[in-house]
C-alpha cells in the first residue's frame, strides 16, 4: 500500500466516523450567525451525542425486533458507506469496494430500516415522516442516480476512485455535463442532509417533520446512533460533492489537503441556503427534485452528444 493510500484511508475513516458531527455543527453555527443569533459552537453535536449516550434507551411497548434493530442497521449501513466512499483518487479497499451503485443501495437500506421501524412503532408522526421520506426518496434517488450517472459516463467507470480521478483538474469541466450534474447533486445534498428548503433540521414542529419524524420514539443510545448516522450522511454527500462534483485537484495529496477547505465552504453554502430560504410547501418538493432529475438528464445528453 502506498503512503497516499494509507493517508487517504486514515482521512476517510477518521473524517467519516469521528469528525463527521462537525459538519452539521458547522452548519448550525454559521446559520445562527447569519440569522443574527450567537448560536452553539460547532462542537455542539458532540455534546448532544455525549448526553444521549449517557441515557438509557426506551423500548416501546408492542414493538418488535424491526424497531429495535433499526438504529443498528442504519449505523452499519452508514459505516459501510463511509468505508466505501474514498476521499481521494487513491484509497485502500475496506472490503466493501468503491462502487457508487453500492453506496446508493446502502443509503436506501438505511432509509428502509428507519421507515420499517416507523411502521412497527406506529406513532402517527413517525409514520407521517416516514411516508413523506419514502415519497421524496423516489425523487431523491432518481436525481442521485442520474447525477452519478453523468460522473460515471465522464469517467467511464462506476468505481469512485476512478471517478474522483477522472473528474479532477479542469479538463472535465470543458463540457457542461459535469456542471449540470453538480446542480442536480446540490439538490440531493439538501435533501439527504434534511435541510431547508426541503426539510427543516431544527424543527420542533412535529407536523412538518420529514427526517426527524421517524426518530421521535427513539431515545438514549439509539437516538445517539441515529444522530451519528445523520452526521455520517452529511460527510458522504459533502465528500462526494467536494471530490466529484466541484472542480478539485488532480494530485492525491492536494485532494486530501484541500478536502477540509472544500467541506468548510460547502457547509457555509448550506448555512446560507438555509438562511435565505423558507421551507418549501411539501407537495412542491417532488417538483423541485424532478427539475434536478431533468437537469441531470441534460448532463447525460450533453455527455453523449460530446462523445458522438
Amino acid at each position: 500500500m502506498s503512503r497516499a493510500e494509507v493517508a487517504s484511508g486514515v482521512v476517510q475513516l477518521v473524517g467519516g466516523l469521528v469528525l463527521a458531527p462537525l459538519l452539521p455543527g458547522l452548519v448550525q453555527h454559521w446559520k445562527a450567525r447569519l440569522q443574527g443569533r450567537r448560536g452553539p459552537t460547532p462542537l455542539q453535536p458532540y455534546r448532544e451525542l455525549r448526553r444521549l449516550w449517557g441515557k438509557s434507551s426506551v423500548s416501546v411497548e408492542g414493538t418488535t425486533a424491526v424497531y429495535r434493530l433499526a438504529p443498528a442497521i442504519v449505523v452499519a449501513s452508514l459505516i459501510a458507506a463511509v468505508a466505501l466512499v474514498p476521499v481521494a483518487a487513491r484509497a485502500p479497499g475496506f472490503g466493501v469496494g468503491h462502487d457508487i451503485l453500492a453506496l446508493i443501495g446502502l443509503l436506501a437500506l438505511a432509509r428502509f430500516a428507519i421507515a420499517a421501524a416507523s411502521f412497527d412503532v406506529a406513532n402517527g408522526f413517525s409514520l407521517m415522516g416516514a411516508s413523506r421520506d419514502l415519497t421524496l426518496s423516489v425523487f431523491v434517488d432518481a436525481t442521485l442516480v442520474l447525477a452519478v450517472a453523468v460522473a460515471a459516463l465522464v469517467s467511464g467507470t462506476t468505481d469512485l476512485r476512478g471517478i474522483v480521478g477522472a473528474t479532477a483538474g479542469t479538463h472535465p469541466w470543458s463540457s457542461p455535463a459535469l456542471g449540470l450534474a453538480a446542480i442536480a447533486f446540490a439538490l440531493v445534498v439538501v435533501a439527504e442532509t434534511g435541510r431547508q428548503p426541503i426539510d427543516s433540521p431544527d424543527t420542533h414542529l412535529e407536523l412538518t417533520m420529514i427526517h426527524e419524524g421517524p426518530l421521535l420514539e427513539y431515545a438514549g443510545r439509539d437516538l445517539a446512533y441515529l444522530h451519528w448516522a445523520s452526521a455520517m450522511r452529511h460527510w458522504l454527500v459533502l465528500v462526494l460533492a467536494a471530490q466529484v462534483l466541484v472542480p478539485h485537484a488532480t494530485s492525491v495529496w492536494l485532494q486530501l489537503g484541500l478536502l477540509p477547505v472544500a467541506l468548510t465552504v460547502l457547509c457555509g453554502a448550506l448555512a446560507l441556503v438555509e438562511t435565505v430560504n423558507a421551507k418549501m410547501r411539501v407537495l412542491l418538493v417532488p417538483r423541485l427534485l424532478a427539475v434536478g432529475s431533468v437537469v441531470a438528464l441534460l448532463g447525460i445528453a450533453a455527455r453523449l452528444v460530446g462523445m458522438a
Partner: protein, 454 residues
C-alpha cells in the same frame, strides 16, 4: 316574542352577534352589535334548564352555548350534538366530530407542544397529508377568572380581566373599564380616551410585529423571525420605559387613567417609534421580495367573507377577507378600516393585514404622542345601569366585556375576546389543507390560548 325571535330579528336588521353567556341568576344574555357599533343585550330566562338554541341562526354562538352549558348547566334545545367545550370529557366520541371512511385516521397534537406554546389539544382527522377536520380542545388552563371576579369591587375587578392574557392585557382591561364606566354612568373624556388609545395602539404595534415574526417562523424563515422578534422586543422595552411594564400591565383603571408621560418621554417615544417604523418597513420589504417566503404562503388557510359572517370571525382575520369591520371606526376620529390588496382571506392576506395595520397604528401613535399625557378622570353624568358593556378592537379583533353589578360590586363579568371569536375560524381554515401547513395557518391567526382559558 321569544329570545330566539328577537335575536333573529336583530340579525335580520344587520346586527351582529357579540357574545352569549349565562348567569347564576338563571338567565342567558346575548350581546348584539349594530352596524353603527351600538350594543344591546337580549335576556332570556332559562326555563326547566334549557332554552332554544340560536346556533342555527348564528353559528358564531356555538362555543358560547357550549361554554354556558359546561359552566352553568344551561341546555340549548336543538343544538345537537352539544359537545363539551370547557368540560374535558374523556370519551373521545363525545367531543370530536366522527370521521369515517377509507384510510382516514387521527393524529393527536398537544396539549403539550414542542416550543413555547400554551396548552391546546388538536385532533386532526387526516387522509395522507390532507386535513379532513380538526377538533380543537382548549381550556386546559381555565382559571375561572370570571367567577373569581364576582363579589369584588368594580375598581378591583379589573385585575381579573387584565390577568386573563398577558398579550392582550390593555385590550381586556380597557374593555372591562369601559363596561364598568357604562354601568356607573361615567363618560370617557377626551384625555382619558387619548391615554387609553395610546396604550391600546402600543399593544397592537408589538402584537402585530410579533405576528409577522410568527408567520416567518411558520415558514422556517428564521432570519425574518429574528428580525421581527427584535422589533417586538424594542416596543416592549419602550412600553417598559413609558409605563414601567413591558406588557403594559396595570396601566388601565376604571373611571380614569393615571398614565403620565411628560414631554421628554413623549418625544423619546415618538423618536423610537419613527425608528421602528423604518426598521419594520425595511424588514417588510425584504419579506415582500423573498420569493421562497412568498411562494410558501398563498392559497392556504382560507376564511372567505362568507365564512367571516357565518363563523363570526373578527379583527385582522376578518379584514383580510375583505370585511372592513373594525370597532375603532366608531371609537376613533377619522379612522377607516384597511383591507389588503388581495383580500381573499388566505394566509398571505392575513400576514399583509398585520403590516397594513402596523403602519396605521404607528401613524395614530405619532399623531397622539404630540403632547404630554396627563392623568384624567371620567365625567359623571351618564345614565347609571345594572349592566355595562365595553367593546373595543384588540390586536386579534373585537373584544367585548359585560359587567353586571350590584352596587359597587361585580355580580357577573363576562369577557369574550377576539381570540375566543376566532378559534373556530382557525379550525375551518385548516380544513382541506395539508397537515404540514397547519402550523403556518395557525400562526397566520396567532390567537391567544389564555384569552380563551380565562
Amino acid at each position: 316574542m321569544t329570545h330566539r325571535d328577537r335575536v333573529a330579528e336583530a340579525l335580520e336588521a344587520g346586527w351582529r352577534f357579540g357574545a352569549l353567556y349565562a348567569t347564576e341568576g338563571g338567565v342567558v344574555r346575548t350581546l348584539l352589535v349594530s352596524p353603527a357599533g351600538e350594543t344591546r343585550l337580549e335576556t332570556a330566562p332559562v326555563e326547566s334548564g334549557a332554552l332554544p338554541s340560536i346556533v342555527d341562526l348564528v353559528p358564531a354562538a356555538g362555543w358560547d352555548e357550549r361554554e354556558a352549558h359546561d359552566l352553568y348547566g344551561v341546555g340549548f334545545d336543538d343544538h345537537e350534538p352539544l359537545r363539551p367545550l370547557v368540560d374535558h370529557d374523556l370519551d373521545l366520541a363525545r367531543w370530536t366530530v366522527p370521521i369515517r371512511g377509507r384510510d382516514a385516521y387521527q393524529v393527536a397534537v398537544g396539549p403539550i407542544h414542542a416550543g413555547v406554546i400554551e396548552s391546546g389539544h388538536f385532533r386532526f382527522h387526516v387522509v395522507g397529508d390532507k386535513i379532513l377536520h380538526v377538533d380543537a380542545r382548549l381550556f386546559y388552563k381555565h382559571r375561572g377568572l370570571e367567577k373569581a371576579a364576582e363579589g369584588s369591587k368594580l375598581e378591583a375587578g379589573i385585575a381579573f380581566a387584565r390577568r386573563a392574557c398577558g398579550a392582550c392585557s390593555v385590550a381586556n382591561s380597557a374593555a372591562y373599564a369601559l363596561a364598568c364606566e357604562s354601568a356607573l354612568g361615567l363618560r370617557v373624556v377626551p384625555d382619558l380616551a387619548r391615554a387609553r388609545t395610546i396604550l391600546l395602539e402600543l399593544e397592537r404595534v408589538w402584537s402585530h410585529l410579533n405576528d409577522i415574526a410568527a408567520a416567518c417562523s411558520g415558514t422556517g424563515l428564521a432570519a425574518g423571525n429574528n428580525r421581527f422578534a427584535e422589533l417586538t422586543e424594542r416596543v416592549r422595552r419602550l412600553n417598559a420605559t413609558l409605563t414601567g411594564h413591558r406588557f403594559l400591565f396595570g396601566t388601565v383603571q376604571v373611571g380614569g387613567s393615571d398614565a403620565a408621560f411628560d414631554d421628554t418621554a413623549v418625544r423619546a417615544a415618538r423618536a423610537e417609534l419613527a425608528h421602528l417604523r423604518e426598521a419594520a418597513a425595511s424588514g417588510w420589504r425584504e419579506l415582500t421580495f423573498n420569493s421562497s417566503f412568498q411562494d410558501r404562503l398563498p392559497d392556504i388557510g382560507i376564511v372567505a367573507a362568507d365564512d367571516v359572517h357565518r363563523l363570526g370571525t373578527v379583527g385582522p382575520a376578518a379584514r383580510a377577507a375583505g370585511v372592513a369591520e373594525d370597532v375603532r371606526t366608531h371609537a376613533y376620529d377619522d379612522f377607516e378600516a384597511v383591507t389588503p390588496t388581495r383580500a381573499v382571506g388566505a394566509v398571505p392576506a392575513r400576514v399583509e393585514q398585520r403590516a397594513l395595520e402596523l403602519w396605521q397604528s404607528l401613524e395614530i401613535l405619532e399623531r397622539l404622542l404630540d403632547r404630554p399625557v396627563v392623568p384624567a378622570a371620567a365625567d359623571r353624568g351618564g345614565v347609571e345601569g345594572e349592566i355595562g358593556v365595553g367593546r373595543l378592537e384588540s390586536p386579534r379583533g373585537a373584544t367585548s366585556c359585560i359587567v353586571e353589578r350590584v352596587g359597587d360590586r361585580v355580580a357577573r363579568m363576562h369577557l369574550r375576546t377576539g381570540s375566543y371569536a376566532n378559534w373556530p375560524s382557525v379550525v375551518h381554515a385548516a380544513t382541506d389543507d395539508l397537515f404540514p401547513d397547519f402550523p403556518l395557518i395557525n400562526k397566520s391567526f396567532e390567537l391567544c390560548y389564555a384569552c380563551v382559558d380565562r
